[in-house]
């Protein structure tokens, strides 16, 4: 007879000294864990609830401006810094970490409308309604030239006066050209007092301009004749144009898929386009209830942030039709500019109430360094939440956002209108001869024509 029974001497299964770590034994057999799925579901539900509880996206306000913010620019070479320009001609450089002004650039006589920084982060370009383009030297972040920052005149590198007021500016991602938009699109060099090149297609004012992140010579503009135009600096004439039913306020290229850009439109929606194929939008992003004023892509290219005239900031996935997040506060007025920070974890919004606001991109994310165990736990909860996101209870909790009453009402009114339109279209189709009327897809409906 051979016999063996389980025998566990205590000292082999427990720690020797009290300073030792507790011994852990694992057995992954599913038989030991009955009702796994139910447990995972409960965990997902709890995680969804906790996410709601910890959703505190608003970090703070930067409130030194005395007029409404009109434009902002990121410093590509310095993570913590952001520039903002206001309607009274004041330009400030902020330290996001301490939410304080690092230095001020004064000199503009009218509103600053365009602000952009060079790739090395040493030169700031501003332009505005006083028909000047000004180039400024940006102080070093480590405070080496803090002495000279007190005297503002020494920072001004150049001021170029031109024929018309400017509405927007953007610097090349690589290279030392920058573009301004106004009566036409002007291409400038840092060292020349006059534009090196000018583009015009029609007589209407150009309201925004944005360079392509991958092709340094390609830029997209939108104009008040409701068009979006794509230019190539290597060619003498504009490349492509699409005419929409409403005006586009701002454009942002997707930094990870640089052939795609998203346009923030007056009709409360954003349209993602493939620059090679402008006859149809790739995706229509809707949720705002008033004109979308500004748009900026996250450096990851997976989502973008929009600011709107309806006093909210929303975050959209790059391929999703509806926003995943909405930010609003009682005191925030119409949002004119928004920016994702270069580490994709914060959002800065500038609004009519003269304040810049700092938000977390993920409302419930824990800030600071996470321990490995904490991070693993967060990843696990994220995974189970993703797995059970279709179940009604979890879906309801994850989707719910509190909206201010005017926006809630406006949204429901918009829904009613869209629904009525759809019904009407449906009836029209039902009562017309079969095949005589076709429904145009939503992605094409707001486009008038593409012009080459």
């Amino acid at each position: 007879m051979k016999v063996k029974v389980i025998s566990r001497p205590t000292d082999e299964y427990t720690r020797e000294r009290s300073q030792d770590l507790q011994r852990v034994f694992r057995n992954y057999d599913p038989g030991l864990r009955p009702q796994e799925k139910a447990t995972e579901y409960v965990r997902a539900l709890n995680a969804a609830k906790l996410e709601k509880i910890f959703a505190r996206p608003f970090i703070g306000v930067m409130d030194d401006h005395i007029d409404s913010i009109s434009c902002m620019a990121k410093n590509p070479n310095y993570l913590k810094g952001i520039f903002s320009g206001s309607m009274d001609g004041d330009i400030r450089f902020w330290d996001i970490a301490s939410r304080k002004t690092v230095c001020q650039f004064s000199g503009h006589q009218g509103a600053v409308r365009g602000l952009t920084a060079s790739t090395d982060g040493r030169t700031l370009v501003s332009c505005g309604s006083d028909c000047t383009v000004r180039l400024w030297r940006v102080p070093l972040p480590n405070g080496l030239d803090s002495v000279e920052s007190s005297s503002s005149s020494s920072k001004l590198l150049a001021a170029y006066v031109w024929k018309n007021a400017f509405l927007a500016a953007d610097h090349q991602w690589e290279g030392d050209l920058f573009a301004t938009a106004g009566a036409q699109v002007d291409i400038w060099d840092h060292n020349r007092s006059q534009p090196v090149n000018s583009f015009e297609w029609g007589k209407d004012t150009v309201v925004s301009v944005r360079f392509n992140p991958a092709e340094p010579d390609v830029l997209a503009t939108s104009a008040s004749d409701r068009s979006i135009t794509i230019y190539d600096l290597r060619m003498a004439s504009p490349a492509k144009k699409v005419l929409m039913k409403t005006k586009t306020n701002a454009i942002s290229w997707n930094p990870m898929e640089p052939m795609n850009f998203t346009a923030a439109n007056e009709d409360c929606r954003c349209y993602s386009y493939d620059a090679r194929k402008l006859d149809e939008a790739k995706c229509v992003h809707q949720d705002h209830v008033s004109a979308v004023m500004d748009i900026d892509y996250s450096p990851t290219g997976r989502e973008f942030v929009t600011g709107s005239y309806d006093r909210t900031v929303r975050i959209f996935p790059y391929n999703g039709g509806h926003s995943r997040e909405i930010f609003h506060t009682k005191r925030m007025q119409r949002v004119f500019c928004v920016k994702f920070t270069c580490d994709a974890s914060y959002i800065v919004s500038g609004s009519d109430d003269t304040n810049l606001r700092l938000w977390k991109a993920n409302a419930s994310e824990q800030l600071g360094v996470l321990l490995p165990r904490e991070r693993k736990k967060q990843e696990y909860l994220e995974a189970v939440k993703n797995r059970y996101k279709h179940l009604p209870e979890i879906k309801r909790i994850v989707r719910h956002r509190h909206l201010p009453k005017p926006i809630y009402k406006a949204a429901s009114l918009r829904r009613t209108m869209v629904e009525a339109e759809r019904k009407k279209e449906e009836r029209r189709k039902a009562h017309s001869a079969p095949g005589s009327s076709s429904t145009e897809p939503f992605r094409k409906r707001r486009i008038i024509k593409e012009i080459d």
Partner: protein, 532 residues
């Protein structure tokens, strides 16, 4: 030439164990896959198909990784009892087993004789560390099985019918003469649960924190012990119920009744999920396999039956008048009959439980409860003259998981585990016959059949169409009115034909299904609803 041949044979012999190892790995990985993957061929959405294919591959990889690490994570092998020569395992006496095993294990077999305090019931904590015993004459005690130390002993001076541990060893519930009570480890009475009535049996659903009880009026109560709320209160309507067991796989409660019926309950429905006629006489004991696919019942009709819970059919029937049944973690079945204990084992893998061990208590002892200690090779026995425990090699799971149940946990770990268990407390709605259904898609209903009116209209239209067919003008003689009328009639019959054929098929199908209903297993037939 010869050398080359040798080389090739060498290679073959080297390749064979490798292949063998990979096959073994596949078999091991199957356990971690938790069933087959979805059939992706039927999907039309290419994007979804791609996503699911990637996910299936990930599942496969993680299952393989788990199977590979099993060797390192789970170093302990299970117990065994192997006969040599003409020995039979069921003839081996406890004394000889105790003599063979190490000193530590030999202490686990004991007999405690307490003849005055009546038949004993017992319960283990889920990690197998502690045992609660309850004598019918009011004796309650908790024993630490690792050190064999008596932690607390109280005398409640009242009939005690059952005892059960709550989520850890700090709390236990006892079914006493009029009410159920909850005590803590120090023997302090914490709660008196008056709503349960005079309870006969108690069970604790540890994932749901529900205490279930049955009483002599045949009522089943569920109480949430974290909030104190009565979750459910059902009348079984089948009389006094003294047999209750929780299915560990899905937390459904099985009740055995005096009429020979077995009913299964969940707290969210007032009607039983399943009613089955198991025995021709009162049911005396029920036990569920941990895998959830097997159930054993015993009845006064001197039968012990094994049931397949997926088809609700009898797999095997054994003879014996059993009062107590229990499945071990590794699937051994302990049967207590009178003063005699049988342990059966599924040795061949085809659910044929053959005799593995036997044990005889002193004559006159009546066994009231058998219970395997989890993570140990020990069977606890509660009988009329005290409590005993015997060694059953190969019954317990050799490798425990510290995060699931840790027999060596200290108070800090226990506290942490309690917190996690409360965070993961399942709502009562998650109790269902198939727990894997959570999160799956309800299959869409079949396409609506056309109503009778619609069929009639279709027939009419077909007939009308056949009547309106213009016949060609034929040559002389073939164009007579009678011939034309005949031809038209033929057309009408031809148009009707497919409809009639369809109708006949339908009626045949209906007959077939009604026959199938009659061919249900015997135990379920009496509940078939008769159609008018």
């Amino acid at each position: 030439m010869g050398a080359i041949q040798e080389l090739s044979t060498l290679e073959n012999s080297a390749a064979a164990p490798e292949q063998h190892a990979s096959e073994e790995l596949e078999v091991k990985a199957k356990k971690f896959l938790r069933g087959n993957g979805a059939n992706l061929e039927v999907l039309k959405d290419k994007k979804l198909k791609g996503q699911l294919a990637v996910r299936e591959e990930l599942y496969g990889q993680s299952a393989k990784a788990a199977a590979k690490t099993e060797k390192w994570l789970m170093p302990t092998d299970g117990g065994y009892l192997e006969p040599e020569g003409l020995e039979k395992t069921w003839r081996i006496k406890q004394e000889s087993i105790v003599r063979e095993v190490d000193l530590l294990s030999s202490r686990k077999a004991f007999d405690i004789v307490l003849p005055e305090l009546g038949p004993y019931k017992l319960d283990y904590t889920s990690n197998g560390r502690y045992m609660a015993v309850a004598g019918r004459r009011g004796h309650l005690a908790i024993i630490d099985m690792k050190t064999m130390a008596l932690i607390k002993e109280i005398q409640v001076r009242e009939t005690v019918r059952d005892v059960v541990f709550l989520h850890n060893e700090l709390f236990f519930a006892a079914a006493q003469k009029k009410y159920a009570y909850i005590y803590n480890r120090d023997g302090t009475e914490l709660h008196c649960l008056k709503e349960h009535g005079p309870p006969l049996k108690l069970q604790f659903l540890k994932n749901h924190f529900l205490l279930a009880s049955t009483n002599k009026f045949g009522q089943l109560h569920y109480q949430d012990i974290t909030t104190g709320e009565m979750v459910a209160n059902f009348r079984t309507g089948l009389g006094r119920c003294n047999v209750m067991q929780v299915n560990p796989c899905n937390a459904v409660i099985g009740l055995g009744h005096n009429g020979g019926q077995l009913t299964m309950w969940k707290p969210t429905s007032g009607a039983p999920l399943v009613r089955m006629l198991c025995h021709r006489g009162p049911v005396t004991a029920v036990a569920f396999h941990t895998g959830g696919h097997l159930m054993a019942t015993a009845g006064m009709d001197h039968k012990i039956k094994l049931w397949d819970l997926r088809k609700f059919e009898t797999l095997r029937t054994y003879h014996g008048h059993a009062n107590a049944l229990d499945f071990s973690q590794r699937g051994l079945l302990a049967i207590g009959m009178g003063s005699f204990i049988q342990i059966r084992r599924d040795s061949s893998g085809d659910q044929d439980y053959s005799l593995y061990m036997t044990h005889r208590m002193a004559k006159g002892y009546q066994i009231g409860k058998v219970l395997f200690q989890s993570y140990e090779d020990v069977l606890g026995i509660g009988h009329s003259n005290g409590i005993s425990s015997i060694l059953v090699p190969g019954s317990g799971e050799p490798n425990f998981d510290s995060w699931v149940a840790n027999p060596f946990e200290n108070s800090r770990q226990r506290r942490e585990k309690e917190t996690h268990a409360l965070l993961d407390k399942l709502p009562p709605e998650t109790i269902m016959l198939d727990p894997r259904q959570i999160g799956t898609v309800k299959s869409s209903k079949k396409k609506e059949k056309p109503s009778e009116k619609e069929i009639e209209a279709e027939v009419e239209a077909a007939i009308e169409a056949a009547k309106n067919v213009k016949l060609k003008n034929k040559t002389k003689g073939r164009n007579k009115a009678s011939k034309r009328a005949k031809k038209k009639l033929e057309g009408v019959v031809r148009a009707k034909r497919p409809f009639l054929e369809h109708q006949m098929e339908e009626s045949k199908k209906r007959q077939r299904t009604s026959q199938e209903e009659v061919e249900l297993p015997k135990s379920l037939q009496r509940f078939v609803r008769k159609k008018p």
